[in-house]
Symmetry: C2
Subunit: 278 residues, 2 copies
């Protein structure tokens, strides 16, 4: 999906919501537990209930890998279903990959390439190994790298905020260096909502880039704060919520409850988009 | 595998060689191409030809994931074969994972846990997200985190060598901080052979830790240099070679050729072990 297509989708659905498909078999509603393809069935119901309210889905690969090869088959079924709907959605493999160049090429092929079992639009990448670990993910047209900059977890403090001799924190060095590796048309950044006040600093370095913002909802981040510091003229945000939507209810009404939670966020987002005339 | 078991294995086989199973279907010998389970057949032949000369195997996950779900099945067959042999080998998932705590727990379960489809002894982890992204990999007894410190690629320069206000490079901060997260019994470090002179600096910070050293062979690192700066009284090294061993020949003699390359390294390693009386 191109940048312009993504912006059009945000305008059309009046939403910049990304639904995180962190599907945990232990948290499925009782009537789905033990069913064949239960994880896929759950994801399909969540997708059906939310696709007109969001613009993106982000399966967290760990939740599927933890189920072994069978888990990846559930992910494949989910992605095939998304591709079959005729309703566009930006799809993100939350994979946090990154390795030496010839290896990153393989990961890019696995998730973004034309022969991928999954056919994602984007994947999250860790920057520790530098340029040649990142650039192989930018080679497929319409596909995206989403580089970790400032994450929403406690451990973000350990290295990302370390300052160099000039007082520049590591996450800013990542933003700066990465401008040589990609463009606003194929590179986004992960910036956690729990660090909302730092979004202003991020925006100074990457004014035009899209930011994937996790941490709203269960992790405690505020949508208003994220928009205050992070929105730009094209919106420039994908705000992810996972647990607060997909586990809104664990009863047979889980999909309706998920829709209600997604709707609340979408309605707030529509107001923020109105403020920027999008 | 415990630290003591690993040291015993190094003594017994007079080797600290790790064979990288970066198996690429395009580089298989002609007689295997297109065969059922060709990747597994190749890996099995490499394992049979090298297991008495090495102490570890390191499948690079990207090469399997690039083949989709079928690739992971080939990896599973390979791991089951290794577990069936009755000859111990330390197994490393070269996966470069790392995410927020609840997600890293899933990755740990996927590769190290008792119900894993693969049952690895260790996996490589990227440190960018800090403490809670790393510690979930240390919870299984006898299982290991191998944390990226200083990698062998060009991009290692971009951030890993960035110095803070005290002149401490990031990779040293990673080494220092990680001493709070694990011990020499469950944490190793990746230090590239192409940065051999820096192994002395690494050793000052983590004198007792095992180091996984990629980059000998195809990437140009020197075994003598690695030992000069990196060996300790328990050996403390796993030196990985991938392409130089597994693709030593692309003919029907590929396994014999792999054995010859592994033997050359093992003989050099035996000499280095003799020097430390191991």
């Amino acid at each position: 999906m191109t940048r312009q297509e993504l912006i059009n989708l945000i305008r059309e659905r009046q939403s910049f919501l990304c639904v995180g498909l962190d599907t945990d078999p232990d948290k499925l509603p009782a009537h789905l537990k033990g069913q064949p393809d239960a994880v896929f069935q759950f994801n399909r119901a969540i997708i059906d209930a939310t696709i007109d309210l969001c613009v993106a889905y982000k399966p967290n690969l760990a939740f599927y890998e933890a189920l072994g090869i069978e888990g990846l088959r559930q992910l494949q079924l989910t992605m095939r279903y998304l591709h079959s709907l005729g309703k566009p959605a930006f799809t993100i493999a939350d994979a946090k990959r990154g390795d030496i160049g010839n290896t990153s090429e393989r990961y890019a092929r696995a998730f973004l390439g034309p022969e991928s079992d999954f056919g994602f639009d984007a994947m999250t990448i860790a920057p520790y190994m530098g340029s040649d670990s990142v650039t192989p993910f930018t080679v497929y047209p319409g596909k995206w790298v989403i580089l970790l900059a400032l994450t929403s977890n406690k451990g973000a403090q350990d290295f990302q905020l370390t300052t160099d001799a000039n007082g520049t924190p590591l996450y800013q060095r990542v933003l700066q260096a990465s401008r040589q590796w990609g463009t606003d048309d194929n590179m986004m950044y992960v910036v956690g909502a729990t660090q909302a006040e730092m979004l202003a600093d991020v925006r100074r370095t990457v004014p035009g880039a899209f930011l994937l913002v996790p941490g709203v909802g269960a992790q405690g981040g505020s949508l208003d704060q994220v928009c205050r510091f992070g929105i730009n003229a094209d919106c420039g945000l994908l705000v992810n919520a996972s647990r607060s939507i997909i586990y809104a209810s664990q009863g047979t009404d889980f999909a309706d409850a998920a829709r209600n939670e997604a709707l609340k966020l979408q309605q707030q987002m529509a107001q923020h988009l109105k403020n920027i005339n999008l």
